[in-house]
Each structure stands twice: as structure tokens, then as C-alpha cells.
């Protein structure tokens, strides 16, 4: 199983929705970190995402854009994405964020928006 530790491999302060919101945004996370890792997985392989190491918390804007954006912009369906990732945490309070991530993915409408990068805007 491939492992992706958000705090160590991406940022210890993930924040904001778009590139245009500043560093470590949900859009940056999705486009440059999560999506390439998910697409690289073999058919039956899963990506373990550690959400609680060196990270203090997440705002909804980051989580929606970072995770549900994959479904919203039509990269894959919610079910496909949920089948490819596993959210891991050792601090029980982070279950709140795991539930949020899964809820955002489940409720996102597949391919409901056309993606336009905000990089450099």
C-alpha cells in the first residue's frame, strides 16, 4: 500500500481553496500531490493518507477542493476515489476530518464543473 503523509509530504499547514489563496491550497494538494499519486496506483492498490501528523487541522475549503474536486472536475467518480484511498489517523479527534472528507467525496457531483487552474492568478 502506498503511503501519503499530508503533514510531511505536502505541508504542515494545508489551507485555502485555490492556488490564488496562497501556499498549500486544496487545489495545489489535489493537482500536484493527491491526484498524481492516485492515478499511479495499480488496479487493486490503495493509497493510505495520513491526516494527523504535524497538521493542526483543516478548513472545509481545503478539504472540499482537495478531495471532492477530483470528483467535481470529472477525474473519477466518488466511489472510484473512495475505493482507492484510506484515511488514517492516530489522534481520535481527527475522525471528524475523515468523516468530512468522505462526506464531501460522496456528495460531490461527478464532472459537474470544468476545471480552470488558478495558478499564477
Amino acid at each position: 500500500m502506498a503511503i501519503f503523509n499530508i503533514g510531511k509530504d505536502f505541508s504542515d499547514h494545508p489551507i485555502g481553496r485555490f492556488y490564488s489563496d496562497g501556499n498549500s491550497s486544496g487545489e495545489e494538494f489535489r493537482e500536484e500531490y493527491l491526484l498524481p499519486r492516485v492515478l499511479k496506483l495499480a488496479d487493486s492498490e490503495k493509497l493510505a493518507i495520513i491526516i494527523d501528523e504535524e497538521v493542526d487541522g483543516y478548513g472545509s475549503s481545503f478539504l472540499v477542493e482537495g478531495f471532492a474536486g477530483i470528483v467535481k472536475y470529472g477525474y473519477m467518480t466518488g466511489d472510484e476515489l473512495l475505493a482507492k484511498i484510506e484515511i488514517h489517523f492516530s489522534d481520535d479527534d481527527f475522525k471528524f476530518f475523515k468523516d468530512k472528507i468522505e462526506s464531501y467525496i460522496k456528495n460531490a457531483k461527478f464532472d459537474s464543473k470544468t476545471y480552470q487552474s488558478t495558478k499564477g492568478t
Binding site: 499547514h13 489551507i15 485555502g16 481553496r17 490564488s20 489563496d21 496562497g22 501556499n23 498549500s24 493542526d56 487541522g57 483543516y58 478548513g59 472545509s60 475549503s61 481545503f62 472540499v64 471532492a68 479527534d93 481527527f94 471528524f96 476530518f97 468530512k100 462526506s103 464531501y104 460522496k106 456528495n107 460531490a108 457531483k109
Partner: protein
């Protein structure tokens, strides 16, 4: 009923003020009237504004060179002295904007802190932000003379980092060493698109001597407040200059009562003004339909509508102001309150520690907060 003349009306107002507020107000008003002839018509409006603030209770004096000296009141507190506190900030903002347009007939000579004996953390951050804005936009720097300030006020502003706006001012040189019961974290200022406030957590931990339970939920709320600043507080068509598009953050801990307060401020257009451009505006209008038309434009109602609509949004409708994230900290702790002051309105959600009941309070104000101020208060 006879229609009264303007002259008569003005006389009546002056007489009622004389009896209501004493002679000081009349003297201040006359001080402004005496300066009128020194200014041309274009500059009269600033005098009208100063006069309106004097009538609202602001203590100011204009000298012969048309320089304004503002004296802060004894108490500055957004809970008990809201209008008077905010009116002093507004006056600073007005003169700064007047000078920025190239009008220099009236200038700010100084802000007198001598009478100030008590200031809340939120008011201190608001005042610091206003003077920082002044400092960013005006070449004429104000230098505080702290020799005559109350020691507790010096310490409060020192801890807040207020004196870093100025050079070479050290309270220790004035014999101020005692630690107050309300300890403050040095304020953090960020520009739009800047989002690093991690120092707050470590600084608060230093003050408190322990970690804060459920910090992650406050962290989420602050993340959303900052993201909000970029998305909504300073839209591209707003008239606020880029250098003034900032946010401010501080925290305070009462060592006696163990109360923690975290205060976040932006100086943007405010939530009520940002709603029409928001994707949830239609739902806000729907929510407001249950109230009389006269109430629908009140900022307190717009704030309540924004909170209510966002709290009932589904996960798919993901483009709100992040308000639910801001409420989560006190919901998870099951006690405390969050106050959201924006423009002329207040929305406050309190959770009773004993019953766990949520109580919502809204309020309208005459004087606006120029931006949005969010206060979280919990008991540790």
C-alpha cells in the same frame, strides 16, 4: 403642529445637548464651529463629520493649525461601550482617508491615551489595526507619549505588540514590569493571500502552560476566516487599497478566570456587503422572507441569515463563507461563545456549559465595524 425652522431646530438640539451631556460637548462643538471659516467649502464635510462624532460623544480638540487631537475614553469595550469605542476608530479612519486623498487642511496631531483605564482585547486589536493602517498609508507618523498612560494600558499594548508600530518605546524604561492577569499574545498581521498564523498556538501554549483541547477546531475556523479574507473581504471591485487588505489576529488568556479569547479581524467590506455577490445569496433572500421587508436589510439579520443558510447547506453546496467551521470550536467544547461583528451587525452564538443549549443573539449598531471581527471565548 407648527413646522419649526432650521434655526429653531438647531437651537433646540443645542439646548437639549447642554442639559443632557454638560458643557464639555458644547465647548467641543464650538471649537469646531470656530474653525469653519478657516476652511473652504470642499473641506467643510470633514468638519461636519468631526462635529457628528463630537455629538456622538467623541472627545477631540482642533488646534489653531487645524490639527486634531483625539482623546480616548476611559473604557473601550465592544460589549459594554460599543458605539463610543467604534466611533473613536471611525474618526481615525475618516481622517486617514481624508489625508490620503491629498486633503491636508485637517490632520491628526495625536491620540491621547491618558484617560484610558480599561480596554478589552478586541478593542485593543481594533485600535492597533486602525493605527497600523494609518501607519501604512500616512507619512506623518504618530508617536505615543506613554509617560502619562495607565500602567495596565501600557502593559496591555506592549504585550499586544502595539509599540512595534513605533520606534524606541520600551515600557521597562518607565518602570513597568508587573504582569497583568489578562495576558496577550503579540498580534499577527497578514496580507491578503498570506496565511501563516502558527505562532498563535505556540504563544498561547506559553501563556497557558498547556495545550488547548480541541485546538484543531479553532484552527479550522481560523483557516476559514483567513480564506474568507481572500475570497470575500476584499473583492476586486472594492475601493480598499491593496496595502490595506490585511487581517489581524491575537489571543488573550485570563490567568484568574482561565478564560481564553481569540480575536480575528479584517478591514474589508464586511459579510453583509459581500453576500449579494455570494453563491448562496438566493438562499439568504429565501431565509429572510419570513421577516418584514423593513428588517431584511438590517446587518444583524443578514449575518443571522448567512450563518443559518450555511449551517443547513449540504456538503455538495460547498461555497459558503466557512462559517460552520468557525462555530465548530465552541460546539466541540460544549461551552463558550463566538461573536461575529460585521459592519452594523452582531451575531453571537453562546453555548451554555451546564445545559449545552445554544443561544443566539443579534444586535444592530449605529456605528459600523469597518470589516469583520470574530471573537471566540472559552473557559479552559
Amino acid at each position: 403642529m407648527n413646522k419649526i425652522s432650521l434655526k429653531r431646530r438647531n437651537r433646540d438640539i443645542l439646548r437639549s445637548l447642554k442639559f443632557r451631556k454638560g458643557r464639555t460637548y458644547l465647548l467641543r462643538k464650538r471649537n469646531i464651529e470656530a474653525k469653519r471659516e478657516l476652511l473652504d467649502r470642499n473641506n467643510q464635510t470633514i468638519l461636519d463629520y468631526l462635529q457628528s462624532k463630537v455629538l456622538a460623544g467623541v472627545n477631540l480638540y482642533i488646534d489653531g493649525k487645524m490639527r486634531v487631537r483625539l482623546t480616548l475614553p476611559k473604557v473601550m469595550n465592544l460589549s459594554s461601550e460599543y458605539e463610543n469605542t467604534v466611533n473613536h476608530m471611525l474618526l481615525l479612519r475618516k481622517i486617514a482617508e481624508y489625508n490620503k486623498k491629498g486633503n491636508n487642511s485637517v490632520k491628526l496631531a495625536g491620540v491621547d491615551f491618558n484617560e484610558l483605564t480599561n480596554i478589552s482585547t478586541s478593542a485593543a486589536l481594533l485600535l492597533t489595526a486602525e493605527l497600523s493602517r494609518w501607519d501604512d498609508s500616512n507619512r506623518s507618523r504618530i508617536v505615543p507619549k506613554i509617560e502619562t498612560w495607565q500602567p495596565n494600558i501600557i502593559i496591555k499594548f506592549w504585550e499586544l505588540g502595539f509599540f512595534e508600530l513605533f520606534q524606541n518605546i520600551k515600557p521597562s524604561e518607565h518602570g513597568i514590569t508587573a504582569k497583568p492577569k489578562i495576558r496577550l499574545v503579540k498580534y499577527i498581521k497578514g496580507r491578503i493571500k498570506e496565511n501563516d498564523y502558527r505562532r498563535l498556538k505556540s504563544n498561547l501554549r506559553e501563556l497557558i502552560g498547556a495545550d488547548i483541547d480541541q485546538w484543531m477546531f479553532l484552527h479550522s475556523g481560523l483557516d476559514e476566516a483567513i480564506t474568507n479574507v481572500t475570497h470575500h473581504a476584499y473583492p476586486s471591485n472594492c475601493k480598499i487599497e491593496e496595502r490595506d487588505q490585511n487581517w489581524y489576529l491575537t489571543g488573550a488568556f485570563n490567568t484568574d478566570t482561565k478564560e481564553l479569547k481569540v480575536v480575528f479581524l479584517d478591514q474589508g467590506i464586511g459579510i453583509p456587503n459581500s453576500l449579494p455577490a455570494s453563491k448562496m445569496y438566493e438562499k439568504v433572500l429565501d431565509w429572510l422572507k419570513k421577516f418584514p421587508i423593513s428588517e431584511r436589510k438590517l446587518h444583524k439579520k443578514l449575518l443571522e441569515a448567512a450563518v443559518s443558510v450555511e449551517r443547513t447547506q449540504t456538503a455538495e453546496e460547498d461555497r459558503g463563507n466557512g462559517i460552520p467551521d468557525m462555530l465548530e470550536f465552541i460546539k466541540q467544547r460544549k461551552e463558550g461563545y463566538i461573536s461575529i461583528f460585521s459592519q452594523h451587525g452582531l451575531f453571537k452564538l453562546t453555548i451554555d456549559a451546564v445545559t449545552g443549549k445554544e443561544v443566539i443573539k443579534t444586535e444592530s449598531f449605529k456605528a459600523p465595524i469597518c470589516g469583520t471581527l470574530i471573537i471566540w471565548k472559552v473557559q479552559l
